[in-house]
Amino acid sequence: MTTPENPAEPAGPKGATTPAGAAEPAGPAAPGGAAPLVELVGVGKTYGTIRALDGVDLAVHPGRVSCVLGDNGAGKSTLIKIIAGVHRHTSGELRIDGRPVRLDSPRQALDRGIAAVHQDLATVSLMPVWRNFFLGSELTRGRWPFQRLDVARMRAVADAELRGMGIVLDDLDQPVGSLSGGQRQSVAIARAVYFGARVLILDEPTAALGVKQSGVVLRYIAAARDRGLGVVLITHNPHHAHLVGDHFTVLRLGSVELAAPRSGVTLDELTRHMAGGAELAQLERELSGPA
């Protein structure tokens, strides 16, 4: 859960630094002409008196990866929870295929092809892999009083889809909790792709992973992108973001600090913005102060 560390403070530097030529208006003038799959226009969210998000613009296009970066408490999780239908925004507009919508539950988002792989809620760890894969969208056969799970088909599909992502398990009955972190994320990603997601939201998929496993997950992100999905990648690791991202949005205390396409920002700039930019320079001066 993200809440600004200090709600009394005016939310972040408003006149966010935007590199020249990078000011891509998140409006209808999107590349390609077609309306973005998902678009946020001036979206804000308050929890009681706490302002978690304020005036955020974001557009998700098919076959592209939009990275959302930010420190702890910057509002990243709040942002994806709004897109995924977990929470409702309190101001601004959420558009899907160009039409303004209000999502009341994750189910509604799923029905519109928006699937979120949450950092902490990707899977139910005590349940077998195949049950997790189909959770909430189970395959059944038979008519109602005798309607039952089609276990054989669910196992076969889960196995095939996971193999398609390069995960080969010798036992689909093993609890998801016994998989490695990268595999768990990949199961969730494979599930979202299989169920026809058009927009894939990934919340810190690499946060708890080592270098090698992060690589695995990033490869799946690229694979999903190449299949034409719009991907929203939430991360606080600018290196991972820069590897796969097409567009970068840096959040700070609930507002947009930087919005730039890949061509408009270097890894160094991204890292500097992530680290706190001006604030960090100030801190550096203070710490090295009266020596």
Partner: protein
């Protein structure tokens, strides 16, 4: 966690361990050990052998039938409570809810001089409504079910005594032995069948029937999948579209249904109901479920396990009598059994998940 296979090189990683013949057997053994009811089965076997050795009367078929009957009165509730626990919640009001149901049916029919089936139906509605109320309060307030059902438990306990006294002037209901429909209802809820010279109470069949149905629902339907999911991680379940509130409320209503059935059995077996009854049984239901391998925290368990757990209770309560031991030791025995069972379950699960 050392899941070394699979994630290293994504495409076409030869993940299956090179072992050909040895691995599958070890896996089967591990899966068998990992079954939630394994601990209860081992415990039941040990207790059975113990009483078989020390109590000659325990070996008779009639004794087994008595043990099964004892187990079934606990076990029917145990099945519903186990489902609820797998779904991640408790119901402390389950014990007195049984009495509430029996009192309602008895007094409604008696005071209005109706056919007992009218009372049975009203009791069913009330029991399921109590379950629904528990579940509704839970999903609306998001308070722990321990607190919510503790409150219902205390309220029902008070209502049972107060309302019964206000209506009948006594602490027990009047006998409904002579009322219309009694014999018919007794056949359903409290009949004794004679099979090959042995008497078998019908509740044993109901118990096993409910257990089979619940097992099928739990393992082979979407609803069952959802029960595991809301108990294992309700937020994850919600995020993938599982109707968490519906599942939780319906699980409480299932406990209400089981409380009604058990209450009806008590009513038609004994003709009258003591208004103070049922207190303390809620913990026995939970104990049976836990002995049967259900995790206290939800998301893991089976129905078969609690069936074995209830059987353990039945054996212990009757075995002590057959063995001529002081019945005062019963509770101690149960406690020791519970402790052993959870320790065994813990050990087994550690073995099973070690990789």
């Amino acid at each position: 966690m050392s899941g070394a296979q699979g994630q290293a090189a994504p495409p076409a990683a030869p993940a299956a361990p090179p072992a050909g013949a040895g691995a599958p057997r070890r896996r089967t053994a591990r899966r068998l050990l990992g079954r939630p009811e394994m601990g209860a089965l081992v415990g039941a076997l040990a207790v059975y052998l113990l009483f078989y050795a020390v109590a000659p009367t325990f070996r008779h078929v009639d004794s087994l039938s008595t043990v099964l009957y004892q187990s079934s009165t606990l076990g029917i509730m145990g099945v519903a409570v186990a489902l609820l626990m797998i779904g991640g919640e408790f119901d402390l009001s389950a014990g007195v809810a049984v009495t509430t149901s029996a009192l309602t049916a008895s007094m409604f029919a008696f005071q209005l001089t109706l056919n007992v089936w009218a009372g049975v139906c009203v009791a069913l509605l009330l029991s399921v409504a109590i379950g629904a109320l528990n579940g509704f309060l839970l999903v609306r307030t998001k308070l722990p079910s321990f607190l919510i059902t503790l409150a219902t438990f205390l309220m029902l306990q008070g209502l049972n005594l107060a309302v019964t006294k206000a209506i009948t002037g006594e602490v027990a209901t009047d006998s409904i032995r002579d009322m219309d429909g009694f014999d018919q209802a007794k056949k359903v809820f409290a009949a004794t069948l004679t099979i090959g010279g042995t008497h078998l109470r019908v509740t044993v069949l109901w118990w096993l029937g409910f257990a089979c149905l619940a097992t099928w629902v739990l393992l082979r339907t979407r609803y069952g999948n959802w029960v595991f999911a809301v108990g294992g991680n309700a937020e994850s379940a919600r995020a993938v579209g599982v109707p968490v509130a519906f599942v939780k409320v319906s699980l409480f209503m299932t406990v209400g249904f089981a409380a009604w059935f058990t209450g009806m059995h008590q009513l038609f077996a004994f003709n009258t109901v003591q208004s103070g009854g049922g207190v303390g049984n809620e913990l026995r239901y939970i104990a049976a479920a836990v002995i049967g391998g259900c995790l206290l925290t939800g998301g893991y368990g089976s129905v078969f396990g609690p069936v074995v757990g209830a059987f353990l209770f039945g054996m212990a309560s009757q075995g002590i009598v057959y063995a001529d031991w002081d019945p005062d030791w019963f509770m101690f025995f149960l406690g020791a059994m519970l402790l052993l069972a959870v320790l065994l379950n813990l050990w087994v699960r550690r073995q099973a998940t070690r990789r």
